[in-house]
Symmetry: C2
Subunit: 335 residues, 2 copies
Amino acid sequence: MKNKQWLLASRPKGEPTSDNWRYQEVESQQTGDGQIKVKVEFISLDPAMRGWMNDSKSYIEPVQIDEVMRAGAVGEVIESKSDDFARGDKVYGNFGVQSVAVSDTKGVHKVDPALAPLERYLGVLGMPGMTAYFGLLKTGLPEAGETVVVSGAAGAVGSVVGQIAKIKGCRVVGIAGGKEKCDYLINELGFDGAVDYKNEKLRDGLKKQCPKGVDVYFDNVGGEILDTVLTCINLHARIVICGAISQYNNTTAVKGPANYLSLLVNRARMEGIVVFDNAKNYGQAAQEMAGWIQQGKLKAKEHVVTGIDTFPDTLMMLFKGENFGKLVLKVEHDE
Amino acid sequence: MKNKQWLLASRPKGEPTSDNWRYQEVESQQTGDGQIKVKVEFISLDPAMRGWMNDSKSYIEPVQIDEVMRAGAVGEVIESKSDDFARGDKVYGNFGVQSVAVSDTKGVHKVDPALAPLERYLGVLGMPGMTAYFGLLKTGLPEAGETVVVSGAAGAVGSVVGQIAKIKGCRVVGIAGGKEKCDYLINELGFDGAVDYKNEKLRDGLKKQCPKGVDVYFDNVGGEILDTVLTCINLHARIVICGAISQYNNTTAVKGPANYLSLLVNRARMEGIVVFDNAKNYGQAAQEMAGWIQQGKLKAKEHVVTGIDTFPDTLMMLFKGENFGKLVLKVEHDE
């Protein structure tokens, strides 16, 4: 069985280019004892992938040169030598950017295709949803009546952050690029306000949308946006540092938040999060989020691009702000 | 009675110069009902004063042009029309940079000259001591066995932070400028290590002195030092933002911490503090600190400069790192 793979060929300086990737088609591995073989159907594309391409200490090991690119994915078990999985099971796992994966089942779990379309397990029902849930509730600590601002608000994490903050009774303002995304936040997801950073002055927009200041800021983008929100925070504000997509392709140093002394003036806090720290509580969170979905309080949107061959270009959509909803690569299989 | 005063004449751009100050000698005010008149003996000079000179929103109102410069001070009550204070009482209050102050007694409290020399009530027994106590214990949350790093370590706040961290069973490393200060930290104050940022590579020094990484960083200086410590923090580290003296005289933008994404990688926290928030607990803290002083666990050093006429130049010692211990201006009175 043919396996289409994308390998890391070299480490990027700045924006990843086609030179950093190598495509190959190989015969898929044998399935060993305790292993499963998975026909991958959807691959998750995430900003964090850019960090994994760097050879630097982080919360997770870098992807090695000539290794299949790391990625979460969902697919169907087509061969099982594991007692825990059967042929036909739909599963989530760290299967990488390839069309067929053989896995020792570590970190693999079943997903229910009757409950939601498979790609949703890469978004609101997957890591982005978990990131939003734990980052907002455990670190942002929003209280009813407070104002919560989230950047990358139309993205996989941001859209869930905003909706959970609404469920918790907060005023929610999203920062996103373009009228279409901002309209979506307000009309579809129920945000109270949106600021279109591409078409209005961010500080003016924030001042207008957050008349009582910002109590919680969930930051996915860093750079100028983080710096501007820092000028609008309230006493004892909590800033959740989830990512900094504006800085990941820098060839010069990361732009640090020049207004960080606002933390002092406002006795405020800035704290980093990594979703994996909450692994033992995923189950409970998933259950609560599933309830919200059933009640119509939590909506999801995936941006599906078809064709594993498009991987290098599709990944770049994240850094250009071109995705609208959770970006997912659909793998086509020759029958 | 003659009152020697320093007034804010204009707002500085960058470093304060003599043009920003105006000296005058005036007849001291009458003491009204409920007021006291204080012969000021020692005036506290603090990095925060630089911020009060700016016309910008902060945790406290700016000093106005032609207003006596704000400063904490200690002195003797020489006239009292208040029921709470008697002639001869030694008192602390916000008396400003002047030799005689008339006060409505708001924020004024008695100090005991038998317990400690008067100038000490501006240092370890005053705001700097309180800042260290609450900033470290409430926000830094050090645990025995952890490594605590403090910058401005030979200064009024830093020296107390380090000693309290020692009392709590931590490994303590101070960052200071010059061999004399570093020797003092180790030999006199019992720090475990010191890094002389003027004479060694900061990162190398930190790596050597903090073999198990940094769990708590108490920052008084900002700039390059904050940025470098960020590369050495451990998982779940706490960074206390108390000040940023390296940035207060900037004419360009404050240098934000470019390595702030280390907060994400390490799920770490950066939080600002302002001592006044703890006012209702000062008494309890002072009692505990007095106990440590009696037990010889907490030592103090003041850097006393004599002559209110020297105020503009003496203040600048803070920004040049020339003070060694709590910087205090001694006021001479003609008899």
